[in-house]
């Protein structure tokens, strides 16, 4: 059985999110008299819009363009081969100038897009780029993007319902409006703790899948190491303040750690080399 740890964690987080959502749905049905089908339809529409707008915004915000097949035939061939091995359709490949080495995936199985930065292609060797691409393809195959959209959708719905519950049960004075706003935000923070915890674990799973597909975790580990060392160097040298602002590295602590969507790079490298 594949990804037993992930499935067990997803069962726990999924049940928790469902419980939050169920309470919110019951409150909406009770307070507004909406039938169940309307609550479900509204929820699907809400999450669907977030998914579509999010994908569009992500590509637009970095100015992504299609990765020309004539200039990068090796990358296209490798992604095609990896996609076949992973049992997914080859995603759309795009390139963007992001100022730092980076790559990310958006979309879902069958309609995925992988964006790589020009800086990443310049910084990494071919096998390291392959490791990064395999990791992003694993995200698409494992439906990680969809899972995050769904998680955020549920968190937002629960937060909105909590806000309205406070408003509708109050006297409509200024303290009630203030309390509603605060309760909504706190509710969203609480629900997102679960979503982000599973997101961190899914990064490890994507690393492991990538390592299995390309036969070794070493290329991806080297890629992460190279990028993190580059970030450290640029921070230490303080050559370019703007780049430095984008390269805040190092161990996050406390709340930042709790709300991180990625595990620490050092741990990922360690696991990839185990």
């Amino acid at each position: 059985m594949e990804h037993v740890g992930l499935k067990a964690r997803m069962a726990v987080v999924g049940a928790t999110l469902f419980a939050f959502y169920a309470v919110a749905a019951v409150v909406v049905m009770g307070a507004f008299g909406w039938p169940l089908w309307l609550v479900l339809l509204g929820s699907v529409a809400f999450v669907g819009v977030q998914y579509k707008v999010g994908k569009w915004m992500a590509l637009r915000s970095v100015g992504a363009e299609d990765l020309p097949a004539d200039r990068y035939p090796g990358i296209h061939d490798r992604v095609e081969s990896l996609s076949r091995d992973m049992g997914i359709e080859k995603p759309r490949l795009m390139v963007a100038r992001m100022g730092v080495p980076n790559a990310f995936a958006v979309g879902r199985k069958g309609a995925g897009t992988v964006v790589v930065s020009q800086e990443l292609l310049r910084t990494l060797d071919a096998d390291e780029v392959e490791g990064v691409l395999a990791h992003e393809l694993a995200h698409i195959r494992n439906r990680d993007v969809v899972m995050m959209v769904l998680g955020q959708g549920i968190a937002s719905i629960v937060a909105i319902v909590a806000q309205w519950a406070v408003l509708l049960t109050g006297d409509n004075d200024i303290a009630d409006f203030f309390l509603a706003l605060v309760v909504g935000q706190i509710t969203q923070l609480l629900v997102m703790v679960f979503v982000l915890a599973i997101s961190r674990y899914r990064e490890y799973v994507a690393d492991r899948d990538a390592a299995r597909e390309i036969g070794s975790g070493e290329p991806l580990a080297r890629a992460l190491e190279k990028i993190s060392r580059g970030a450290e160097r640029s921070r230490e040298s303080a050559v370019d303040a703007q780049v430095n602002a984008l390269c805040i590295f190092g161990e996050e602590r406390g709340l930042a750690r709790l709300f991180a969507s990625h595990p620490p790079v050092e741990k990922r490298i360690e696991r990839l080399r185990e």
Partner: protein, 77 residues
Amino acid sequence: MVDVRTLLAAVLGVVLGVVLVAAPDAVIRVQTAGRLPSDRGGEYGTDSTVPTRWRRLVQGAGVVLVAGGLYFGYTLV
């Protein structure tokens, strides 16, 4: 008798405000996760880095929340 909702507004407002001031990156990450790829900005393998302007905006909202919480606390005295 103390109005429980006003007391809650005071306490939770200050708590949330302090969180916004102390950890603006975490708050922004919570708001953007799932809406934008969490690894879209910054270096590969890390969470997106947050623009300073956004950070200041969230911290400003945190200050407003703390002030609001203190005000509602004051009205109870």
